[in-house]
Symmetry: C2
Subunit: 332 residues, 2 copies
């Protein structure tokens, strides 16, 4: 059973997932992507995953059978476990909780070779709708405080399976990064009575230099203080704190924006590994005037060294204005 | 000229180092270690680096000549520049400073093939003494608030040159990670009137399960909430807030502890890439009762994925008790 441990100095939580059973000798292999051969995410191999939670499938096909276009299953090797009640305990100086949470996999396409960037707008819409459905469902479980949906594409981004998928982890706490953003945005709001993300969108659209793309409902930009080269955010132009409030008719615009950004990044950087993160508000937070959800795309181009680890301070060799200009002008 | 930019949401600073000139096409090569052939850090090639700032060398040899055992030079491709005054300016919502700072390289040995773990205790002492000398010197420059000394060993840790070296970056701000630790330790001290690191050492020495090694003056342990597998801290047993107060006679004990930990990690994990960080107090902070300096060693065994990026929450597959037990029992 995994557990959550709190750092007594900073208060940061860590998941210690011992049942993943990694021993010193295992570290040489865990970061390589399994390629070719048997794939547990391909149609026909549904029995290789835990039973499906949700799927979009053609008429007349049944649960855990082929015929799906998007399929959500529990992670077979979860970082956290969904069964049990949340127990907190101390041990002298230290604090821990048992590892309660949900860890699910969203298989984005039945086609083993297709990447998310290669899917149609319609297919990407279905992936987003699956995110929304799972968040709405898990929100009913009062043990959970926060859900992060994320995607590791390619070996340098931490992917371990080739078949395109995203993951969802529901947590009993609000973790450090979203908390820092939520608190920072609340301070800004207290001072100016405006959403800082709405202000970023307003200033960046007026300035133009960091904008990659925009359509009727969404804007894609390279943020002013990007930590890594070609980091790109996609934000709703109108203030929205929670992703799960997205409407069916807004999904096509979001899918169009993501598809275009991913295809531009693929072309500009020759199909890099990347991480995709959905940054949204904590679950049991009312609609917030200060926090604004977004998708974040971060190509894996640079290594994290001792300076970044030790300081939390990043050195970005590509100004976001150069990255945005490059992506904006790139023809597909 | 590079610049420091502040994230308007979290307040985190980022270095945007545009003159490093990285374009989309450069990203395929920047993370590989140059091996074989010409080495700018080898004796005889002193003219390939900027002029040396400090060296330990044999009698009768002169600056920028062979004959040194440790040599400190400015980084030829600095992330920050040492010349100029610190200018801060706003641009609407955004804040920036020009990229003032020092970026130096500590060449740890004249022998191209030797690793830090393979040096003698005496040689490692000289490396630490160079860290101390540089911190004491840079501390006189009132533009700087914080110095991070770090080392990237091996390609997965971000090294770009094979010849063993560490780096030092002096910054005009106290960055996010040290700030979070300093603030957390101060809160603990306000509550308990004790140093949290001293309490960690006391509890972990009594418990024993996370201890790797100890000698008269230092203790090596795998911290309770380790973010990554086999993360190891080396701390002075007696409370000390600033590394640069270390005495000549304490250096042999520190060098012995680091050498032993690195050799155990090399043997256990088959010579992994790793980062070494010196975590110490801000420069113009008086001796602090709540913060305690340390060396942190973090082997590069796992990839940072979207979950870690998006949440700041780490999944560590190896409990620190297992890592410490493994290292403690390993015979060299």
């Amino acid at each position: 059973m995994s557990e959550l441990r709190k750092d007594p100095i900073t208060g940061r939580w860590v998941i210690v997932a011992s049942e993943r059973g990694v021993r010193p000798s295992d570290f040489h292999t865990i970061t390589t992507v399994q390629s070719g051969g048997y794939c547990p995410f391909c149609p026909g191999n549904e029995a290789a995953t835990p039973r499906e939670i949700l799927s979009w499938r053609s008429h007349g096909t049944g649960r855990d059978e082929p015929g799906w276009s998007v399929r959500v299953v529990p992670n077979k090797f979860p970082a956290l476990h969904v069964e049990g009640s949340l127990d907190r305990e101390g041990e002298g100086l230290y604090d821990r909780m048992n590892g309660i949470g949900a860890h699910e996999v969203i298989i984005e396409t039945p086609r083993h070779e297709a990447t998310l960037a290669q899917l149609s707008v319609r297919e990407i819409e279905e992936v987003f709708w699956a995110y929304r459905e799972r968040i709405v469902d898990l929100k009913r479980d009062r043990r959970f405080e926060y859900i992060l949906v994320f995607k590791n594409h390619g070996p340098a981004a931490g992917a371990t399976l080739e078949h395109e998928h995203s993951q969802l982890i529901a947590l009993p706490i609000v973790p450090r990064e979203p908390r820092a953003e939520i608190e920072g945005a609340a301070r800004y709001h207290a001072f100016r009575e405006r959403c800082v993300f709405c202000d970023v969108i307003r200033q960046d659209r007026k300035d133009g230099s960091r904008i990659v793309f925009e359509n009727d409902r969404f804007v894609a930009l390279c943020p002013y203080a990007s930590r890594t080269p070609f980091q790109t955010w996609i934000l709703p132009k109108v203030h929205r704190s929670h992703f799960e409030t997205i409407k069916r008719e807004e999904l096509a615009s979001l899918a169009e924006a993501l598809r275009l950004v991913l295809r531009k990044i693929d072309k500009a950087l020759e199909h890099p590994s990347y991480n995709l993160m959905l940054q949204t508000s904590p679950l049991h937070f009312e609609s917030s005037p200060s926090y604004h959800w977004r998708l974040e795309i971060a190509p894996s181009l640079t290594r994290i060294g001792g300076f970044e680890w030790g300081s939390g301070f990043f050195i970005n060799p590509t100004p976001p204005e150069e990255a945005a200009s490059f992506l904006r002008k790139l023809e597909l």
